[in-house]
């Protein structure tokens, strides 16, 4: 990888972790989805940069499929299946307030970074930034899933975690069998479809999509 490409990739990785943190603190559901699209485009950009020198058609194909499935198909599916009223909604019932969420996200970023260093030493010739930022973003995605109670942000939390796993994946497994990569990429829109359908069912049967606040099935004492 040339120094210029490496620097550009570092910039992309920085923006990737910032976009993941931004998703956890953005209360408007529509805006949260737009940041997810940006995060997916950054994942694709990192795949293109890593695949440019030495050239890897595996990574270029993965980048193209990411743009298609996560930046085009998933937002379209969510717009069609989830009632418009939900996209406009501001989520005020987050489990943690914004400053606390930011603080925890920062702590998790450092923890993910520190854990990844342990692995980076095993193969120093790979892009260490992707591994570190991938682990950090994975933990921040988990935080997003934990603090949000609305269905769509919870789905975006799952998808953000998957993006984070693949940010690491494109660095550590650039030769991962393409057929499996393609299948995984097309598996994601199916996931979004099922989740959006379930959110729609929840909205119809309960009048809300605050699925994180549901506690009627807890074991009685």
């Amino acid at each position: 990888m040339t120094p210029l490409l490496a620097e550009l990739n570092a910039l992309v990785l920085g923006l990737f972790i910032i976009s993941t943190i931004a998703m956890t603190v953005t209360r408007q559901i529509g805006a949260c989805m737009q940041i997810f699209v940006v995060q997916s485009l950054l994942l694709a950009a990192s795949a293109f940069l890593l695949g440019a020198s030495p050239f890897s058609w595996h990574l270029f194909a993965l980048g193209c499929v990411t743009v298609l499935s996560k930046a085009i198909i998933i937002p379209w599916l969510l717009r069609v299946l989830v009632p418009n009223e939900i996209h406009q909604r501001r989520e005020l019932s987050q489990a943690l307030d914004v400053p606390t969420t930011l603080l925890v996200a920062l702590g998790l970023t450092l923890a993910g970074y520190a854990f990844a260093q342990h692995l980076v030493h095993a193969a120093p010739n790979l892009s260490p930034g992707n591994i570190s930022m991938g682990f950090a973003a994975l933990l921040v995605g988990l935080l997003l899933l934990a603090v949000r109670v609305e269905a769509v942000p919870q789905l975006l939390g799952l998808l953000a975690m998957e993006n984070a796993a693949f940010l690491t994946g494109i660095a550590i497994a650039p030769d991962f069998p393409l057929i499996a990569e393609l299948a995984i990429a097309f598996d994601v829109p199916l996931l979004a479809f099922i989740v959006a359908l379930l959110a729609r069912i929840a909205y119809r049967s309960m009048g809300t999509t605050e699925v994180g606040a549901l506690t009627s099935l807890q074991e009685r004492q």
């Binding site: 342990h118 692995l119 030493h121 095993a122 193969a123 991938g134 994975l138 988990l142 899933l145 269905a151 919870q154 799952l158 975690m161 998957e162 796993a165 693949f166 690491t168 994946g169 550590i172 497994a173 030769d175 991962f176 069998p177 057929i179 499996a180 990569e181 299948a183 995984i184 598996d187 199916l190 996931l191 099922i194 989740v195 359908l197 379930l198 069912i201 929840a202 049967s205 309960m206 699925v211 549901l214 009627s216 099935l217 074991e219 009685r220």
Partner: protein
Amino acid sequence: MTTLLIPAVALLAALWCAIPRSGRAAPAVTLIAALLAFLGSVRVLWMLHLGATLTIARGWIETDPLGAFLLVLIAFVYVTAALYSWGYLNVQEAPPHRVRLYHANFNLFAFSMLCIPLLSELGLVWIFVELTTLLSVLLVSYALTPQAVEAAWKYMVLTLLGATTAVLGILILFWSLHTTGSTDFTWSGLRAAAPHMPHALLGAAFVLLLVGYGAKIGLVPLHTWLPDAHSQAPSPVCAMLSGIETSVVLYVLLRLRGVFAGDPALHAGTWFAVAGLISAGVAALLIVQAHDYKRLFAFSTVEHMGIMLTAASILTPYGDTAALWQMLAHSVTKSFCFYAAGIALIVTGSRDIADVRGLLGISRIASAGLLVGGLAISGAPPMAVFPSELAILRAALQAHGYVVAALLALFIVVAFFGVTRHITSMLTGEPSVTTGRRVPTTCVLALAVTAVPVLVLGVWMPAGLAQAIESAAKVLGA
């Protein structure tokens, strides 16, 4: 090509059921597809027994005795659940389009599970494990009540969280394989390369995969989706989820154990034992304080997964044989339990243990089913689970795992008293209010068909089946 036809019939049945106006024929089509899948899977097992090699695409689709054994288990539960669904949905008085969509989804769920034992490439295995969740979520929410939606949501979020964790584990495993110069990302390729893989990478992959797939099989503390989903899903779906879906994912973990055991410094066996014993112990206590009889059987699944994982931790050929024997006994007995629970729900209209009293005076089928199921699943002789649990204890003692054997025996006894206490309270006393509904014939038939292995395998194991289990255990290579 017979192997590929097995999932193909389930997929074709799903496509048929998806066609509008196919509502009336959907249950029959599903049952025929399930029967064909079962006959096909028995044929595959038989061909392997005769020494045939079933490789469709090297490195991608290969079937060995372990895969064939699991295939037969999946297909058996698929047949009985399809039969049970037929009458069960009639009782629910579901409109034809919902019956059609249920069967389309049910066949797709079966398709995703039937593919897993045929695959040898780990990336594809991950995809189909994730598909088992995606294709069963809408079955869990079938009742469309707020509780059913809540259960489906929790099931989906927790298991997909596990899948995302597991995919990172798989990518790291691929990375560590790459460092050895190999590109054979199959079960056998990974096992061969494992001793040469970097310890740090293999350790990270192990933790991520154990946690990721642990969520799917209901290991404590990632088990919370299991009782919720099972209390709300239709009973035939519970039979598929509990009886076979958890076993399918456990199969993946057992295969991975062979890879991680290649690095003795990882102590994969110890981790399996700790995770298994904690799950079995916590589940035994949860069984004692259960209030809902469908949740009771779900906790019993958590206990059984813990027992099987502990058996796999012994790392001896006999331990593996006992684990697979338990998998067989669990699949048939747990599906039987949920069929009996479904019948009890039809006649009483309540899932609450405290609300159901004097079941003996209300329905002989429901009470006989719950009594036999409760005794069988908690390991009472002479039913299928008893000899398999005994074999696990023996395997632990043979390997000098006295503490493991003692703890397992204690948890099994606690669970036995928990299950039998609840079932006895439901059967005896003044009969509670009933719905007056008649139990559908197909539900009784499914219960009767499943009762055969539950009762027979406790006293007699056919030589062919015993040989199939031994051959399957050899593949695990402890």
